[in-house]
Each structure stands twice: as C-alpha cells, then as structure tokens.
C-alpha cells in the first residue's frame, strides 16, 4: 500500500521538478498517440459512416469482423508490424523499426476498429428522419456525410476518447515496434512496464498518474466540445 502513497508523491515530483526522463517519455507518448489517432480518425470515421449508413449485402459480416478486430492483442499487432518493418521484412528499407512512426502505425491499427465500430453505432443511432430531412433540403452525399457526422458528434467524441484511451495505455506495440529505447522510443506505458519489472512500483504508480494527467487534460479540452453540443 505504501508504494501508492509514495507514487502519488513521486508523481508530483516528476512533474514539478521537470524530470528529464519523464518529460522525454511524455513527449514521445503525446507525439505518437497524436499521430496514430489522427490517422485512425481520418480513415475510421468515413469507413464507420459507410458501415453505419449504407445498406449493402455483407454489411453485418463486416460488422462482425470489425468487432472481432477489437480483440486484436497489442503484442500480436506489434509482431505483425514488426514482421513488415523489420530489416528483413518487406518494408524494412523505410527504417521504421524502433521509431515513433513505426509505433504509430501499429497504434493506428489498434485504434481503427474502435473508431469504425463506434462511429458506425453513432451513425446508426442518429435520429431516424435525419437523412430524409437532409436529402429533402438538397444536400449532396458529401453534405449528408458531414452533417450526419456533426449531428453524431457526441458519439464520435466517445469513439475518439475510447480509442485514445486504448492507444495511450497500450504497451505491446510500443515495446515490440518501438523497442522502449530510452530517450527515443520510451513512452510512458513502456516506462511503467519497465519500472514495474524493476520492482520500482512507486515509480510505476507515479508514471501512471502522469499518464492520467495527460488523459485528463485531453478530456477536459474535449469536454468543451461536449458543452457546445
């Protein structure tokens, strides 16, 4: 129990005294998760919209596949990405291994099913007459898309928040693809895993609190979006 208290104290120390290692990990975390979230939202929202709106044969099967993809273990994704970007892999020449970009690729794969599944649900549960109303006002396909997305923004916000939570907290991909290299690809979560393995439980707790602080800052700014909704 005492290490929890010690961890809380330490969290303040790390943040306030500007521990360089911690800040390096914070920076890496923020960079890599912004990158992966941007990619997955950009790809996932349109795909989720199609899955939620359009009625095509095989739609439910695709839905089941996407839902299954929600259970992709991070280490598994890490291994797959590693296989491709390792020096001996087909994409080895791009030098993505042990870089933040490499991690972002894996994290985008991790976040994508969440964004797609939750966007599809948000779009599905839009008010029933919305589409008819927009069409009746002469909206084009693109405009129907944009307005529906805007009307579904609460659901999309949750999709984004959930995916961000997933990406921020994953360890397997960052370890496998990023290599947890100190000063370079060490993120907060890989640092937590490392410290815990070292038996430095208090530091683990402290770093976890640092991550929560980041998440809180993100969610606090998003909650203004919610207010305007």
């Amino acid at each position: 129990m005492d290490f929890i208290v010690a961890g809380i104290v330490k969290a303040f120390q790390l943040l306030l005294q500007g521990d360089r290692e911690t800040y390096s990990a914070v920076l890496a975390t923020v960079q890599v998760s912004s990158l992966s979230m941007s990619v997955s939202l950009l790809i996932g929202i349109p795909l989720g919209y199609c899955l939620g709106y359009a009625d095509f044969p095989g739609r439910r099967s695709i839905r089941t596949v996407v839902d299954t993809m929600l259970s992709l273990p991070t280490v598994f994704i890490g291994l797959l990405v590693y296989a491709f970007i390792s020096n001996r892999g087909p994409l080895g020449e791009y030098g993505l291994l042990f870089t933040l970009s490499g991690i972002a690729v894996g994290q985008a794969i991790l976040a994508l099913p969440i964004v797609i599944a939750l966007t599809a649900t948000a779009v599905e549960s839009l008010d029933r007459p919305l589409r008819l109303t927009l069409l009746s006002l002469g909206a084009s396909g693109r405009q129907v898309f944009l307005t529906s997305i805007w009307e579904a923004r609460l659901g999309l916000l949750v999709a984004a928040v959930t995916a961000t939570g997933r990406v921020l907290t994953e360890v397997g991909i960052s370890m496998m693809v990023g290599g947890n290299i100190k000063w370079h690809t060490r993120t907060i979560t890989t640092a937590i895993a490392l410290e815990t393995n070292k038996g430095q439980f208090a530091t683990g707790i402290a770093l976890g609190l640092v991550l929560l602080a980041i998440a809180f800052a993100v969610n606090l700014s998003l909650s203004f979006l919610r207010r305007r909704a």
Partner: protein, 339 residues
Amino acid sequence: MDTILRMREVRYTYNGRPILDIGELDIARASITGLAGPNGSGKTTLLKLLSGVEKPASGSVSFMAANTTRSSENTVRQRLCLLPQEPFLLRRRVYDNIAYGLRIRGGRGDLAGYIHEALELVGLDSSFAGRRWNELSGGEAQRVCLAARLVLRPDCLMLDEPTASVDMESARCIRRAVLLARREWGTTLIIASHHRSWLNDICDRIIYLYNGRILACSFDNILTGPWETVDRSTVGCRLSDGQMVYACKPVHTAGSAIVSFSDLDASGPVQERNIKSLQGMINSITLDNKQDVPQAVVSCGDQRFMIKMNGDAQGAKQFWPGQTVTLHYSPEEITWLEK
C-alpha cells in the same frame, strides 16, 4: 403544357409489397397540385419519388428532362425541395436550421434577412430565430420546417401535410405563403394534405390517390363495406341508420366503392328505374373561395356524403343545414376500387 416534373410507369415496393403504381403523371410549371387520399394511399411515397429522395423500383421520374434520382445530378436535386411529413429539426438553433439549406447551396455571411422573411411567411416572429430546436411547440416546429424550405425558393416545392398540427390562423398564413411563392418566384407546388377544404382552396388540380394508384375521379363518397349480396346482380352496404346503398356486383369481390350522387333533392324519393335514393340531413353547405359551386355535406347515420350542388351559389338558397333531403344515385355508376 410546360411540364416541370414527369413520371412514367413508376412502380415502388417495400419488401416486395407494391405501394405505388403510377402510369403517367405530369406536373405543369408554376402549378399548384394537391394530393389527396386516405392514410397509406401512397402520398408520402409519391412525394419522395418526385423529389428524388427515393428511387423507384422501375420507371422514370424526370425534372425538366433530367432524371432526379441520379445522385450525380445534385444541382437538379437542389432545385427540388420536400417538406417531409414528420417535422424534424437539427439540434441547432432555429436560425441555423433555416440557414442550413442556404449554406449547403453556398450561402455565406449574413443570412438573417432571408431567415426573418421566411419566419414571417409562416407567421412566426423573428424572436424565434434564437430558440433552440427543442424549445418549440409541435406546430411551431412544423412551421420552422416549412420556413427552412421556403427560404430556399426552389423551383419545385413539395409539402407533405404542411398544416397537420398548425392552427387555423397559421394555416391561412401558409396558404398565403404558398400563393406568394407561386406568384413571386414561379414555384411549382405539390401539396399532400388531409385538410380537404384548405387543399381545394389553393390547388389548381387535385390528384386522388387510392392504394397507390391515381383515381380518375374525386372520392369523397367512399364506402368501405362490408357488402352483402342482395340478389344475383346487386350487393348492398348497410349504413348505421339502417338504409342500404346498392351497387352492381363487381367482377372481383373488392372492398371499397365510390358513390357519385347525381343531385340533392328537397322532395322525396323518385321512382325511376336504375335510380336509387337515400335520405339524409344536410350538415353544412360550403362555398369554395374559388369555385362558385356550393357543396353540401349530408349525413346518413354515421356516414357523410359530399355532394356538389347543381347551379351557382343562388341554387343553394333553397337548402339549409338541418334540412332533410334525398340523394339520388345510380347503382350502375358506382366505381369499384382495386384492392
């Protein structure tokens, strides 16, 4: 005729159930067309097809010779505009709801002038612009939806029950707005409504739908049965006051029939072959604003029949509400409706 909308051999089904079957329908530019018919007769479906929001299973719908359902023809779709039956507002302020259509058409900057004008057309004062979508009563929401269409000044405006939950004063307001749209902007209007007198009042022409088909005649006097066999060639429908309406046996045992009455008679039944009569009481006598022919509603038990009175307004002088009259019809002239 300068046709703005043309429908040919259109069929529409829901899950295989045929809903609409229109052989030929032409709408003239700057005309006001009414759409009447009982619940489920296909009015809403027809409007959706005409406005290009839905696609027919087969057949063609074209707007000034351009096909409305090809989504690439987005500019065509923007010149048509539908007010859906269910009033629905986006989760924004009234202002933004009305501005939405303008904005997707590229409208930028200060649209307040247009928006207040549109609100005024439907009888709402401009303080409503600042309200949120959920701060309106049913009729107010309905009128905001209409305002959001009027503000677009489309070439062709289709209204699905615009007066459904609207007060009498606003119904008149909407009537004025519709007439203004036609006069000022040359808008073509197609209006579905159960508000028959209101519809009669403003339409150049009324299309009667029944079971997804266009009827050749008006159908105010529909008898839905049940029909009992009277003799080999005649069936009859008993009214709640005990009187019987006779009809020639139909080829197939259909459910409903339209009775047309030749005239109203203050004297008793006539004794003529092939002419039957019914006794009833005049309920009301109405003169349309446009038409000079007065109409009477006569009740026989629960059933009410509408009869155009022969002659002009003066001809109505001899009748008054409360009077007992005789209606004449010929059992052979009853029109059977296909189920």
